[in-house]
Amino acid sequence: MKRILSIWWLMFIATMVFAQNYKSNENRIWFYSEAPLENIEATTNKVYAEINYETGSVYVKVPIESFVFDKELMQEHFNDQYLESWKYPLAEFSGSIVEYIKGEVHKEKSYKVKGNLTIHGVSKSIETDVKIAKTNELFVGTLITKIQLSDYKIKIPRMVIQNIAEVVDVTILLNLSR
């Protein structure tokens, strides 16, 4: 009995020591569309993100329904007509930091991150900039990118073309801990 328990204890400790994954469920994404007739923006606090300190791999996952708009009708149309979130409930990014050297992230630095972004069921390979810094227990980062809606088959009806931009600015704020 004592041997089984001590082996189990060892495994329990091991998962903590080898936890090189910095992650969090409460990162933020903000997107902004600027068009002649209307500016649209929405934010979400329910973004899951993970960075591996050893390898520099990055994973971000956001439920589309978590985006909050000022106008509820706009939020309904966003989910119902544009992103079709009942069919594609998540947007995901899976990739890694280019030329990652783990010792260098203790000071805030700009990197390029490359990987697959999947929105509305469509996957596209993207490369964008990220600024990250690591303290002892936290990994913080800001990722700013532009998304062309037509790349992900998000259709804008001709009637509202003056209200919705074709390219939307997206900002991801990461605050990860072990």
Binding site: M1, K2, L5, S6, W8, W9, L10, F12, D70, K71, E72, L73, E76, H77, D80, Q81, W86, K155, P157, M159, V160, N163
Partner: protein
């Protein structure tokens, strides 16, 4: 190995940690199942076509509603297929809370002012409550001059009241169905409508064709109608874009409000009378 045995805790500590982590895992799992998602967009706007829908505007949203019903298409080219004559209603619908709304409007038909309120007391949930339900109460006052017979030229003679229970269900992402049952009191009837009190019921449906276009249908039944009257029905299309909702309606009734839809419908499609009209609902965020 010796070093390891010196740091290894005794059996009791290990058991305690083990049990605590199992309990923690279980409680986290249970918490995740508590939120139920409310089904949205069973119908859009306060009306299915001619009649009321189960929906109310969101809190602090003001809907401006224009109802424009042209005259009979069978009138032919000279009268431009009924487009020369039209009945119009202008109205507002305000969301006091997420579930309670109040509205006012005025129709050119019999110069009628109407007031109404809707209370959505049930909301359909995904994998939960199967129906949405709303109570609707409305009052209608005609303000015609020199037409009302002397006995009825009073406030109560000019008033009509309606109350109905509206039940609706959205099935999947494309189909919505609705049934209502209600009571109508009419102060004075210009048509040969027999009883002051009548019961009515409306069934309606909406089906999604594309991201923004829906097709809808509606049929009402009312007790006590005379030989010259018909049950009102309609089919139409909804275009749901940005802050505007366009509802194109083909009906046997030229009515712009639900009371006259029930009591003042005299035509039928089999006789060739088709009334084309539209509702335009614009949402303002206050």
């Amino acid at each position: 190995m010796l070093l390891y045995s010196s740091i290894c805790p005794d059996e009791y500590t290990v058991m305690k940690v083990f049990l605590i982590s199992i309990v923690a895992l279980l409680t986290l799992n249970v918490k995740a199942q508590e939120e139920k998602k409310i089904v949205k967009n069973t119908f859009r706007g306060g009306r299915v076509l001619n009649g009321e829908s189960v929906e109310t505007p969101s809190k602090d949203n003001l809907n401006f509603i224009i109802v424009h019903k042209f005259s009979d298409l069978s009138q032919g080219f000279y009268d431009f297929f009924g487009l020369d004559e039209a009945e119009i209603r202008l109205g507002f619908d305000y969301g006091i809370t997420e579930n309670l709304s109040a509205g006012i409007g005025r129709s050119g038909y019999q110069k009628t002012y109407d007031l109404y309120s809707k209370y959505k007391f049930l909301e359909q949930e995904e994998n939960g409550l199967p129906l949405s339900a709303t109570l609707h109460a409305g009052a209608f006052f005609n303000t015609l001059r020199n037409i009302m017979p002397t006995n009825f030229d009073t406030f109560s003679g000019r008033s009509s009241y309606m109350g109905q229970l509206i039940l609706a269900r959205k099935m999947g992402h494309k189909l919505s169905v609705q049934a209502t049952a209600g009571l109508l009191y009419e102060g004075y009837s210009f048509s040969e409508f027999d009883a002051n009190y009548s019961m009515f019921s409306t069934i309606s449906t909406r089906f999604r064709l594309t991201r923004i276009i829906y097709i809808a249908g509606e049929y009402s039944y009312i007790t006590g109608i005379s030989e010259v009257q018909e049950y009102p029905y309609a089919i139409g299309f909804n275009l749901d874009t940005g802050g505007h909702l366009f509802q194109l309606i083909f009906s046997n009734s030229q009515a712009t409000h639900s009371k006259s839809m029930l009591t003042d419908t005299f035509d039928s499609w089999t006789e060739g009378s088709v009334y084309f009209g539209f509702n335009l609902v614009r949402t303002f965020y206050l």
